[in-house]
Amino acid sequence: SAVISQKPSRDICQRGTSLTIQCQVDSQVTMMFWYRQQPGQSLTLIATANQGSEATYESGFVIDKFPISRPNLTFSTLTVSNMSPEDSSIYLCSVTGYNEQFFGPGTRLTVL
């Protein structure tokens, strides 16, 4: 199985600021994914991050708001830009391996 860590685990931010979330995997993986879980809601895929290429965003998510980096096969970052209270969510990193999707513990973001 893949072990995923995320930093920070939680943060409280002011509106208009940006936060970068880090995702580290203990093995090399081709595809990494970023999900958002709004309060009391299900998980929604934000984008797919492949090493060596630009991230692919799902409908409703744009690069200017959620820029993603994927510098190598074990690491990715998601930035939540120009935050508003509506961005308050849990952000989860995920990877595919062994015919399974593994999830990180999540980053709980509160925007005031």
Binding site: L43, N99, Q101
Partner: protein, 117 residues
Amino acid sequence: AQSVTQPDIHITVSEGASLELRCNYSYGATPYLFWYVQSPGQGLQLLLKYFSGDTLVQGIKGFEAEFKRSQSSFNLRKPSVHWSDAAEYFCAVEPRYGSSNTGKLIFGQGTTLQVKP
């Protein structure tokens, strides 16, 4: 469009009683199917998955799920619920394109399970 529906937002069962959580999906072909559990303050844990073959799959913690193609369903069951099973349960599908998996998951809305002593 592909979608996953969990008709029951909230279910309450007594400890020791049986449990069935419903999941229906909308997809042109048979996707990969998953059930995840999320306990308060915890990450997502995979309970079981279905790719092909035997339509009754066994998972961890005594859970099982049955894939019914004719009903586009993948219901989760447990014969006897424990208080520690109280959590949020998510059904998810992974669309496939030909023989390739996408790695992307589409989640249902989730079912909150409450267990009465």
